[in-house]
């Protein structure tokens, strides 16, 4: 992996419009972008993929590059080597977000694929019937999909660090350069966003819900 200063210089040159820099940047991160898109497509399973999946992979990867560079590179300009995310990781998150957004906007069911084990959401629903737990599992997965589509790369990374990797706050502060107050504020923001998305999904008509 190239040093952050090299990446920063490359990004700056690419955003200035230098074709060779754009190509070099694209070439560097193409494996990350394609891998992230592939993982999402694989996760959706064969039945949910629909279109020619091989074509889909590179169409969605191309879309991710558009997301980075459109509007005068607004999204790519938001990356900083000091922001706690490597360029590859940042680009990967953008690719995931755009892919989730694109696939969701095709008006697929807002509910996810087949649920597996039910997830206990807390004491209030701990004694729910199996059917109710399966419904909640689908709802959870739909909320997760929405968050992936709507969070900024920074928000996604903080969600990963806090809730998926479950890193201690001190470790997150060290990696991201954020204060502990800022990390806690993000956690609160993520929680509120998750709740808002859940409410929004509950209010939507259930097309093809299971």
């Amino acid at each position: 992996m190239s040093p952050p200063t090299d990446d920063a210089a490359l990004v700056e040159r690419a955003l200035s419009g230098a074709p060779d820099a754009i190509r070099a940047l694209v070439e560097r991160v193409t494996p990350v972008v394609r891998a992230r898109v592939a993982r999402i497509l694989l996760r959706r399973g064969a039945a949910a993929r629909g279109r020619d999946v091989s074509q889909e992979l590179d169409d969605l990867a191309q879309d991710a590059f558009v997301a980075l560079f459109e509007r005068d590179g607004r999204v790519l300009r938001s990356w900083s080597p000091d922001g706690g995310l490597s360029l590859a990781n940042f680009v990967g998150l953008v690719a995931e977000r755009r892919t989730h957004s694109t696939l969701r906007s095709r008006r697929q069911s807002p509910w996810s694929e087949d649920p597996t084990a039910p997830v206990d959401l807390g004491a209030k629903v701990g004694d729910a019937s199996p059917e109710r737990r399966l419904d909640q599992r689908s709802l959870l997965a739909a909320v997760l999909d929405r968050m992936r589509a709507e969070l900024s790369p920074k928000g996604l990374r903080l969600f990963e660090l806090l809730m998926i990797e479950q890193r201690p706050v001190a470790a997150i502060c060290e990696e991201t350069g954020m204060t502990s107050s800022a990390v806690y504020a993000w956690r609160s923001r993520l929680a509120k966003q998750a709740r808002a998305l859940r409410e929004s999904l509950l209010a939507e008509p259930l097309e093809g819900a299971r």
């Binding site: 394609r34 891998a35 993929r49 558009v66 959870l140 997760l144 969600f159 929680a191 998750a194």
Partner: protein
């Protein structure tokens, strides 16, 4: 499906924890991202699928996707799309919509609307999501949504050959191609047409076609292969002509399937230089 009661809504923290748990489960279910990145980066022997055995056992169709991932990436195409997106003026930078059903050519003459004699070209240096393309439009008042358009394609006797509408027409330098995009109802306001040529390998290049737009918003692109700028030094090959019809100033469509400031038409043509 049973209803989910709002009364049983989990506390915010519990919901966030549950989302994290679900994300961990999902990550554990599929192939490791590191393995996918290694495959995409050419670090894996493409024939070595050991890391994906569990996936392929459950989902044999995933093999096609893995093959594609392991194959050469269209970096040039991505770079061109990135460059075009960077340099596009925000209000007029449409992403190419998903392809519509291919338009099969009609045999004989298609219905052609009356057009003004002169063709009006206004070029803007608009760079689009997939490739830079030239935009041709007439200055008109600002816009309600466009009605649905239908496309018809016809050509002279040199183009339409054989039997059956399924045959791809062949276009040589002197062969004529006539494309008409007709709105369901007369259009008020500006209409913009953007053209691409999609090559067999998926590369997309701009297509600056001489375009006529009638007062009712009907679009006509007509001329010989040479006049249309389609014949080059390359080999004979089948390409797709992609035309997008929309309003100037339309936001880049996020939802290609349902939010349609742009309507897409794909026309399969075999170029014969």
């Amino acid at each position: 499906m049973s209803e989910i009661d709002r009364d049983e809504a989990p506390a915010d923290d519990a919901l966030l924890e549950a989302l994290g748990a679900l994300a961990r489960e999902q990550a554990a279910e599929g192939p490791a991202l590191a393995d996918l990145e290694a495959l995409a980066g050419g670090e894996h022997d493409p024939a070595d699928r050991a890391a994906f055995e569990a996936l392929l056992a459950e989902d044999p169709e995933a093999a096609a996707l893995l093959d594609r991932l392991a194959g050469p990436a269209p970096v040039d195409r991505f770079a061109e799309a990135a460059r075009a997106a960077l340099t596009a003026p925000p209000a007029e930078s449409p992403e190419p919509a998903g392809p519509s059903e291919p338009v099969t050519p009609e045999r004989g003459g298609a219905r052609v609307l009356a057009f003004p004699r002169r063709a009006v070209f206004v070029g803007l240096g608009v760079a689009l999501a997939a490739a830079a393309a030239a935009v041709f439009f007439l200055v008109r008042p600002a816009p309600p949504p466009l009605p649905d358009f239908t496309a018809s394609v016809s050509g002279g006797q040199h183009i339409v050959r054989g039997a059956g509408a399924a045959e791809t027409p062949t276009l040589g330098p002197d062969d004529r191609l006539d494309i008409v995009l007709t709105p369901a109802v007369p259009v008020e306001g500006e209409v913009v047409v953007v053209g691409f040529v999609v090559e067999p390998d998926g590369a997309v290049r701009p297509w600056k076609a001489p375009t006529e737009i009638s007062p009712d918003g009907a679009v006509r692109i007509a001329g010989t292969g040479r006049a249309l700028g389609l014949i080059d030094d390359g080999p004979a090959r089948a390409v797709t002509l992609r035309l997008l019809v929309g309003r100037p100033g339309a936001d880049a469509p996020v939802d290609h399937a349902t939010e349609r400031p742009w309507q897409a038409f794909d026309i399969a043509v075999r170029l014969q230089p």
